[in-house]
């Protein structure tokens, strides 16, 4: 699964730490999602999407290998 989290964050101009704080997770979690090392749960993905006011599919998308 790929994601555009880093780009969305740049558009909104917030740091990993700030995003983590809004959602209530650790900064390591946001970092790992951005570097494609961790696939978030549905709940977390929905929460992230809500911060950016976008549907989940705009931020997270399946890859051919998934």
């Amino acid at each position: 699964m790929k994601n555009t989290l880093r780009i969305e964050r740049a558009i909104k101009n917030i740091t990993q730490g700030e995003l983590a704080e809004i959602i209530g997770v650790s900064r390591q979690t946001i970092n790992s999602i951005e570097s494609n090392k961790y696939v978030p749960s549905t709940i977390l993905a929905l929460k992230i999407a809500r911060v950016f006011d976008k549907p989940v599919e705009d931020i997270f998308a399946l890859e051919d290998t998934d």
């Binding site: 740049a10 209530g24 650790s26 390591q28 979690t29 709940i43 977390l44």
Partner: protein, 167 residues
């Protein structure tokens, strides 16, 4: 005074999978206990402290090389318990913010620690004999916790590194 979080409820379960973990603030206590145990163990090799000696604890004990002795001193017990509880507390205290990613890493590290520990133990079974093997098995009681702590801390350290390139 101190609250132990044993959460059995399923509320917010997916995000906050932090069952059976101690509060974050306890970690320093664990480190102190472990260091005390370690310092005591190392110092005792020269000092040979007779700590909390209980004379005539086993009046009917027959004096053999490996059997229980008449008197008992609790230096060894104190050492082992300090190290054991120190490591346990360090291993199983919460992160500052405990979430699903961290819970996943914790579980992975635990499995990893088991594999590494028993791989090393298997090598020891084949290569160590006699009284040395006995020493190895004692050491092996603590190594899963040590390997777990090292692996988990390393993963957390790696995950907190900022990535500079923009995707």
């Amino acid at each position: 005074m101190c609250k132990v979080y044993f959460t059995f409820r399923l509320i917010n379960f997916t995000l906050m999978r932090s069952r059976f973990l101690l509060p974050h603030g306890w970690r320093i206590t664990g480190v102190i206990l472990f260091l005390m145990g370690l310092a005591f163990s190392i110092a005792d090799q020269w000092l040979n402290v007779q700590f909390l000696t209980w004379h005539n604890l086993r009046p009917f004990a027959t004096q053999t090389l490996t059997g229980p002795s008449l008197d008992e001193n609790f230096a060894d017990e104190i050492k082992m318990l300090l190290i054991l509880f120190g490591l346990l507390i360090v291993a199983f205290t919460k992160e500052q913010i405990e979430d699903e990613f961290i819970a996943q890493q914790r579980l992975d590290s635990l499995q990893w620690a088991m594999y590494v520990n028993y791989a090393v133990f298997a090598v020891c079974i084949l290569s160590v004999y006699g009284i040395d093997f006995f020493s190895v098995t004692i050491f092996n009681v603590f190594t899963p916790l040590i390997i777990f702590i090292i692996r988990f801390r390393w993963i957390m350290h790696r995950a907190s590194k900022k990535q500079l390139q923009v995707a």
